[in-house]
């Protein structure tokens, strides 16, 4: 019964954690996608074809992610946006490869997510961010003594940390302290901060997410430790945490393709719509998801694929088109893709001044 509708609409599925500890990210992607799809549908769809949308929860668990994928297949999905988290995404790529389903992950940042030809990324890969961050710090001479605090039970965080560490050897600064935390003990950071402080760090690199970063900033303030804090895209959203005291984040630098306070029209439009629909400020996950949908639109338009091509046919056409398109999105202008699946876009360095993101440079 699915073939009938499948032939006349695009069925885009999404996978990510909507419940559980990682639900912030899944929820954001879900909302971001929804917003983009609604916009496109209102504007008449992709080349006149409407999009149907279905987002499935994976609780940030590989098995559940594969289950979600299968459920979406039953629903008749012909393009997948997901999974949100790297581990789940890797597990799902094995399945999409079997089916030759086109997959675009908004935020699965591990390089292992894109080992197959049918998978593309919207976000930076972890190594990219790690290397980028190290180079930025080195090139701008932000510090000579750097400390790192990362989440050793998180794929994203360890991925960035590893490359940062490797690249640091080529740069003009020294990593004086490295300490980790885990998902099981992520409320007290005094030890990590104390170690950084004792080592005389001038800059603390935080390849982590905003929630933990907000605690780190609070605790650092309490112990009168005021180095420069430097983060990656995970840190975006820190100002959006409800009730967060923005003065704590004063001077934090982040290397991120997206900030909600950006001045450009597209971002402002997106943010205002998002706030209106979901009652909170979007973070970069939502932005990546939004871009993912528009990227799919661009690829479809470029390739001339139609829902009637069947899953594999769509995939072949779109995969071919991906390397040819250039997309202007929230997270970057002129984004292009390599055949490997990796995105090319410019990270923006932002600094938080007076409770607002400001472009550095």
């Amino acid at each position: 019964g699915n073939t009938e509708t499948a032939a006349t609409t695009w069925k885009i599925g999404g996978i990510g954690p909507v419940t559980g500890d990682a639900s912030v990210y899944g929820q954001a992607v879900k909302n971001g996608m929804e917003l983009a799809i609604n916009e496109i549908n209102e504007a008449g769809g992709i080349s006149g074809v409407q999009i149907e949308y279905n987002f499935q929860d994976d609780e940030c668990d590989n098995e559940k992610s594969v289950n979600a994928y299968n459920a979406l297949k039953d629903w008749g999905m012909n393009i997948l946006v997901g999974s949100v988290t790297s581990g789940c995404c890797i597990a799902v790529t094995a399945e999409t490869a079997k089916d030759n389903m086109f997959q675009l992950t908004p935020s699965g940042s591990s390089v292992d997510c894109i080992i197959n030809d049918n998978v593309f990324q919207v976000c930076f890969t972890d190594p990219n961010q790690g290397i980028g961050a190290a180079q930025y710090i080195g090139a701008n001479g932000l510090a000579t003594k750097v400390a790192v605090i990362y989440n050793s039970s998180d794929v994203y965080s360890t991925g960035i940390y590893e490359k940062f560490n490797a690249e640091a050897a080529n740069q003009d600064f020294e990593i004086v302290s490295t300490s980790a935390f885990t998902n099981d003990s992520k409320s007290d950071f005094t030890v990590q901060l104390q170690q950084a402080k004792d080592a005389g760090a001038e800059l603390v690199f935080l390849p982590i997410y905003a929630q933990e970063a907000s605690l780190i900033l609070t605790q650092a303030a309490a112990m009168d430790f005021a180095p420069t804090f430097f983060g990656c895209d995970g840190l975006d959203g820190i100002l959006a945490i409800e009730n967060f005291d923005p003065s704590l984040a004063e001077g934090v630098i982040l290397l991120t393709p997206f900030v909600a306070d950006a001045e450009d029209e597209m971002t402002q439009n997106f943010v205002s719509k998002y706030v209106e629909s979901y009652g909170e400020t979007p973070n970069q996950f939502a932005a990546d998801a939004y871009d993912a949908v528009y990227t799919i639109k661009a690829a479809i338009e470029a390739s001339g694929a139609t829902p009637a091509d069947g899953i594999s046919g769509i995939c072949d056409k779109m995969t071919g088109a991906m390397t040819t398109i250039s997309v202007d999105g929230l997270t970057g202008t002129g984004m292009t893709w390599a055949a490997t699946g990796e995105v090319a876009k410019e990270p923006k360095a932002m600094v938080i001044v007076n409770g607002e993101y400001t472009n550095l440079q």
Binding site: V18, T19, G26, S152, A180, T182, S185, Q211, N243
Partner: protein, 294 residues
């Protein structure tokens, strides 16, 4: 100097564990059940204060009192609906499983109401932090309040159990429910009271937890709940002073192993120390060795 500051931080963290463990241990000691939902009641307590104090701008003290009242009612309701029907079930594991169900329930209901994104919690503690040794050492106001609260609660609880009639009833119920009824003790009422007190303590713990680590999400209670459970066992589960000692020790071990051994493996080290302690003293540090007479 850094050692001293680690120790201070360990005590701070430990005091938060301790205050959660107190409620845990008390409920365990009397109702003889591992209430896996305790951590989530803590989360609820935090959200109530968050909503009232940060959302509606109500006076923090009043918010805390409301939160305690709310959690008390919640705890008693949970007990009535999910635990009491299984009191005489053939296996004591049955009620453990419903407790897990309740834990999921509370997490998911909070998820639906508040959404998944974390909230920053405004500390309700207004005491300034204590600076020692020219500011090289800091003891935060939250830590001071938590430790003081811990000690007060511990003393009051012990006095309550040993000196009041209701406390004596709790002791009897914890030993033998049938025999307690024969003494004229209202068993169901006593257990409901236990949950009421335990949940009120959870509300206080929730506020202090969120004040010390000001980030609140539907899953905030889960991990501290488990850690507090470990702390309670450390100190000898069921023992009220044991919960305090267990909590503080746990915090210390966690911080010191993070500082001096491995920050990645600190959880593993904490658990390893727990195992060693239990192997040496199978009932925890202050736990009573109950010998069965043959």
């Amino acid at each position: 100097m850094s050692l001293i500051s680690y120790v201070i931080n360990g005590i701070s963290l430990g005091s938060v564990y301790a205050i959660i463990a107190l409620g845990y241990s008390m409920v365990y000691g009397i109702a003889k059940m591992l209430n896996f939902a305790h951590g989530d009641v803590i989360m609820v307590g935090g959200f109530v204060v968050y909503t009232m104090a940060s959302g509606l701008g109500i006076n923090p003290i009043l918010s805390i009192l409301c939160s305690m009242a709310f959690c008390t009612v919640l705890g008693m309701t949970i007990e009535r609906i999910a635990y009491r029907p299984l009191r005489n079930a053939a296996s004591s594991l049955a009620v453990l499983i419903t407790a897990i169900g309740v834990s999921y329930f509370l997490q998911n209901i909070a998820l639906i109401i508040y959404g998944s994104s974390p909230k920053a919690f405004t500390s309700v503690v207004t005491i300034p932090s204590l600076k020692l040794a020219d500011g090289a050492l800091t003891i935060s106001g939250e830590t001071i309040v938590t430790i003081v609260a811990c000690i007060i609660i511990m003393v009051v609880l012990m006095l309550f159990i040993n000196k009041t009639k209701a406390g004596q009833a709790m002791l009897a119920v914890s030993e033998d429910k049938g025999a307690a009824a024969l003494m004229g003790i209202n068993v169901n009422g006593t257990i409901a009271l236990t949950f009421a007190i335990g949940s009120a303590l959870a509300a206080i713990a929730g506020v202090l937890l969120c004040s010390a680590y000001p980030s609140l999400s539907p899953y905030t209670g889960a991990m501290p709940g488990i850690k507090a459970f470990v702390a309670a066992v450390f100190g000898g589960i069921g023992s009220i002073p044991g919960a305090l000692i267990g909590g503080i020790l746990l915090g210390l071990i966690e911080i010191l192993s993070k500082a001096y051994i491995s920050s990645q493996l600190s959880d593993a080290i904490v658990f390893a120390v727990l195992i060693v302690v239990l192997l040496v003293k199978p009932t925890g540090i202050l736990g009573k060795q109950i010998q069965e007479k043959v």
